[in-house]
Amino acid sequence: MKRSRLVSILTDAHLWVPVGVLILGIILLMSLR
């Protein structure tokens, strides 16, 4: 993958919103065990 495309992905808010929610979801799930 081109470096410029990688930078575009990593600086995209559309990526970090779901990633953040996923991390919180996994933490929640682990705390329910």
């Binding site: 993958m1 495309r5 575009s8 992905i9 995209d12 808010a13 559309h14 990526l15 919103v17 779901p18 990633v19 929610v21 996923l22 919180l24 979801g25 996994i26 929640l28 799930l29 329910l32 065990r33």
Partner: protein, 426 residues
Amino acid sequence: MTASRDRSTISLHKLGVFCGLAAAVWLGTAEAPTKLVNAGFSPFLISMGMVMGTFVARWTVPTLLKGTGFLFADLRDKPHLIVWALLAGMLWAVANTLTIFAVRNVGLAIAFPLWNTNSLVGLFWGWLLFKELRGSGVKGWSKVLGGASAIVGGAAVLAYATARQSDTPGKAAVGIIAALGAGVLFGTMYIPYRKAYISGMNPLSFVTLFTFGELGAVLTLGAIYMGGFSHVAAELHRARPMLFWPFLGGFCWVIGDLFQNFAAKYIGIGRGIPLSNTNQLWGLAWGALVFAEFSGLSPSGKALILAGSLVMIAGAVSISMADPGASELVNWKQARERECERYGLDAEKVGAVVAGDDPLAEHPPVRRWWEAVVMFVAVGIFVWLGIGTRSQHLAISMPWMIVLVIGTILPLGLCGTLLWRRTRFS
């Protein structure tokens, strides 16, 4: 770019609404086969069986409709979206596991409406990140937000009425947090959906990738909860006689999910997701009419079910009538242009695909030999699971089952034909 002469001229809004409603029918029907699973298996295992069924079907249906050449060309064109498709699959897996905790701790009556708020979460993300509903005015807002709220409210009434018979014990706070968490995760899952479609990705390609994130996350979670992959394998082996039913449910789920994806593409997540969330009505119809689950329900319970259903239908009608106006469509276009600029996509081509006129769709798919192998393996897995399968002994109303099966197949035929005639499944 214009559609060819033999294409249908139905508006994309109407097409999206039909897809949302067809999604509800199939997602609701997906619950029916799992009712035939014998008692004694954990809900987690049943969920895993469904995911494995969806994995098989998600590879075969797109391959059958478009061919692997089209799918790979679509992925090569927008490789950045692979990240979002996998992410969406993982979000689904974690959310679905949370729903199991929620149902266990607070029961379906409280849990279902709480995670059904995912449509409101999706509506918020659609507004914030993709400019959905911007410029739609008070009228448009009230139709969509009012409709989505009515669907959540109707779900609350239905869930309360149908679960009054059961008495699920304690740990309420944990269950409520799990259900709300599932709602947020499901609602956030629609961010990748919408991003893919305003970038011109085909829903069939998206779901093919989605399923890897989903299966990988479910197997990992399963291994964590069951104490390793060897225990997962042992449990699946023990469950072999009943696996056909969750697989069949997974197959129905894939059809519903595909329609949901086409709805998200053509009317956005703010409108498409609440419509497909009316699936509870169809699950209810199977439970009440075919499995006679509510035969002992009091008249007040039946009245509640009727009221909840009517509220939900009213919400769906309200959203169906909320066509995006010209000023909202300008905002949709801006969101699309952002993707094109950021990822170097061909704006004209993406515009055509978003409008249902994918230039590639006019060419018949080039078939490869391995597609026949994929089909053969998929059918073989279902036949193998079907042989020697066992089911719970339940009294089933055959006339109602025939009616509902016809009522399920009709939207598939109607919507499938509309999608083909208007967009060639693009």
